[in-house]
Symmetry: C2
Subunit: 356 residues, 2 copies
C-alpha cells in the first residue's frame, strides 16, 4: 500500500511537470517561477496545528525523501516505528487488550469451572471494577496467560477479531478501533505516501494487534512487532498441522525489548520512531543513534477535555499506564526529540469529530 501511494505521488509529480511544460509552451510569457512555487494542492496533515511538531514532521520528510537533500534516504531504508497504546489510540483507563482478557474470563471459567473460586479469576467474575483495577501484576499475568495461550493461533485470531469488531469503550461508547488518533493516522498515511514502511512496535500482544492492524491502520500483520509468546507445532486428532500458543514469553516488547524486537523482526534501524511513555524510551534512543536525519516524537496526553491528561512531566497525575516521566521529558529535550502536545498540536483527536 505504501508503495502504491508513493508511486501515485511520483506520478502526480511527473504529471504536474508535464502540465507545467505544456503551460510554458502555450503561454510563453508566464514566469516559470510562478509554476515552480505552486504549493502542494493539499495539506498532508490537516488535523495538525501549525507549530514545531508539525514542522518537525514536514522537515524530516523533506530531508529524507528529496533526492537533492544531503540526508536523502533510499526508500528501502525508510523504516518508521509506532508504539500503539497511547501513541496511535487511547490507552486509558485500561489497555484494550487487558479489557479483552478480562472479558474472556467468563468463557474460560465456563470451560474450566474449577477456576470460579480461584483468584484472580474469582475477582474478575465478581464484576467489581474497582477490585479488578487493584489486581497485582502477577495476578494480571495469570489472567493474560490463561486467556491468550493454550489455543491454536487460528482459534485465537478468530476470537479476538470477533471481540474487537463489537466491543466498545466506556466513555465514547464507540468501538475501540474508532479511538485512533486522527493526526497520527495522517502521519502514517503521509509517511507511506513518501515511500516509508510503517511498523507498529507495541508492548501489546503481537497476535492480538495483527487481527485488526491492516483494517484500522493500513499496517499488515507482518509489520506488527509486539510482545510474543512461544508457539508449538503439532497435529490435531485428524493429523492436521496446528500451531498452539504456549504460555512462554519469547519477546517482551517493552523498554529495551523494543529495539531488541525491532532488530529481531525488521533487521534495520528505524529512522523515525513515535511513542508516548518510558516503554518507548529505548526505541527512540536506538532510532536516534543512527546516522543522518532522524525523527523521534513523544505524544503528551495533556488534554483532559478531549481525551485524558496524565504524566508527571507536566505535573499531571501518574496513572502507571503510559508513564511520561520527568526523566523522559528531560531526555527528550536533551536529545532533540519532539514532544507533541495533544492539546496544542492537534486540531482534532478522533476521525469521528469530523473535518477540522
Amino acid at each position: 500500500m505504501g508503495s502504491t501511494l508513493w508511486r501515485s505521488s511520483i506520478n502526480r509529480r511527473a504529471l504536474l511537470g508535464t502540465l507545467a511544460a505544456v503551460a510554458i509552451l502555450s503561454t510563453p510569457l508566464l514566469p516559470v517561477s510562478a509554476l515552480a512555487e505552486t504549493p502542494p494542492a493539499t495539506d498532508p496533515l490537516p488535523s495538525w496545528n501549525d507549530g514545531p511538531a508539525k514542522q518537525a514532521i514536514m522537515n524530516f520528510v523533506k530531508a529524507t525523501t528529496d533526492q537533492s537533500s544531503p540526508d536523502f534516504v533510499p526508500p528501502e531504508a525508510r523504516i518508521a516505528t509506532f508504539d500503539q497504546d497511547g501513541t496511535l489510540w487511547v490507552e486509558h483507563p485500561m489497555y484494550t487488550q487487558v479489557e479483552y482478557c478480562l472479558e474472556r474470563v467468563p468463557a474460560l471459567v465456563k470451560a474450566k469451572p474449577e477456576l470460579v473460586n480461584v483468584e484472580p479469576f474469582k475477582t474478575v467474575m465478581s464484576g467489581d471494577r474497582e477490585a479488578m483495577a487493584k489486581l497485582s501484576t502477577p495476578d494480571l499475568e495469570k489472567i493474560l496467560y490463561a486467556t491468550l495461550t493454550g489455543m491454536t493461533v487460528d482459534a485465537f485470531s478468530a476470537e479476538a477479531a470477533k471481540w474487537i469488531a463489537t466491543a466498545k469503550d466506556g466513555r465514547w461508547k464507540r468501538p475501540y478501533t474508532e479511538l485512533t488518533y486522527q493526526p497520527m493516522q495522517e502521519v502514517l498515511s503521509y509517511l507511506r505516501a513518501k515511500g516509508f514502511k510503517t511498523y507498529i512496535v507495541t508492548g501489546g500482544g503481537q497476535d492480538f494487534v495483527r487481527t485488526y492492524s491492516e483494517r484500522v491502520y493500513g499496517i499488515p500483520p507482518e509489520q506488527v512487532v509486539g510482545t510474543a509468546g512461544g508457539y508449538m507445532y503439532s497435529y490435531d486428532k485428524d493429523g492436521k498441522p496446528i500451531l498452539t500458543k504456549e504460555p512462554k514469553l519469547l519477546l517482551n516488547d517493552n523498554d529495551a525489548g523494543k529495539p531488541e524486537g525491532i532488530h529481531l523482526m525488521i533487521g534495520r534501524r528505524p529512522i523515525a520512531a513515535f511513542g508516548n511513555s518510558t516503554g518507548d524510551q529505548q526505541m527512540l534512543e536506538y532510532t536516534g543513534a543512527g546516522d543522518g536525519a532522524r525523527l523521534e516524537m513523544l505524544v503528551l496526553h495533556d488534554d483532559p477535555a478531549r481525551e485524558y491528561a496524565y504524566g508527571p512531566a507536566e505535573g499531571l497525575p501518574d496513572t502507571k499506564v503510559g508513564t511520561f516521566t520527568q526523566a523522559l521529558y528531560d531526555e527528550a529535550k536533551k536529545d532533540g526529540w519532539t514532544v507533541v502536545s495533544m492539546k496544542n498540536d492537534w486540531k482534532r483527536i478522533f476521525g469521528f469529530e469530523g473535518a477540522p
Copy 2:
C-alpha cells in the same frame, strides 16, 4: 522491488493491450483470436525444462493471480517462503555459514589466546579439514556461539558482509553468492512479478543471511526469517545505545521451528513453500494445511556432474547435510508436493553457465 516488477508486468500487459487495440483498428481483417492467443513474449522460467515441475509452478501462479479463478488470492496474502541452503544455493560440502564460523576462529583465538589449546578451537586452528568435518554437534555449537555472539549487531553485520564479499567455494572457485540456483532465482522473480512477497525461511542465522539477501536474492532483511539468538540493549562507554548478540537461542528455525518462526515473524500462512530436506517438512505441511490452491516443492539433489547427488530417497548417499529421506519422499507423493529433479528439471544450475 517485488511491487515494482509486478507493476511493470501490469504496465507491459496494458501496453500490449493498447498495441493490440491499435492493430485491430488499423487492420480490421486480422482475426481477434490471433491476438488474444499470442503467448507471453518471454518465458518467465527459461532455465526450467518443460515438465511437471515447471507446469506446477505456472498452474499455481495462474490459479492464484487470475481474478476469474476460483482460487484467486489477493496480493497481500501471496506469501511464498523459501529455505536457503540446498534450495536457493549450494549447501555442500558444508553450510556457508559454518564455513564463515570456522574461518573466524583464528581472529577469535588472536583476541582470546587462552583458546588456542582448548577444543574444539585447537582442531580448527590445526587446519585439518578431515578432523574438522568430524567435530561433534556440541563442538560445532561452541564454535557457532563463540563466533556469532558477543559482539554488537553492527560489528557482526560488517564482519559477515566483508567475508561474504570475497570468500570463495572450493569447487567452483567463485564467491558463494554466485552459487545460487538460477532456476530458483527465476521462481523468486516470477512470483514477485506476480505480486507475491518472497521470504527466506532458513535454519541459518537470520543476521548472517540478512547481510546479503537483498543483493543476492532481491529479498530485504525484514523478509528473512532464520535461526535467531537473543539481543541485549545497553550503552557503550560513550553512552551510545548498542545491541549485542547474546549466546542464547531464541528461535531454532528448523523442522517445527519453521512454521513457528513463520507465524512469529510474518503472521500469515504461506501459500507456497520451497525446501529440500527434512528440516523443511513442517513448513511444507503447514503451508499445505491452508485452504485454496497451494504449491509445495522439494528440490532433489540428483546431479553429481553439475552439482551434487545426495539423499536416501533416490538411493543416494545420506550426507547428513540437507537430508532428503525416504519418509519425506513418501510424504511428498502422498500430499501432492512436487519433487524437483535438478538433473531433469533444470536446464542450467547457475547463472554463470550463461543463457540456456
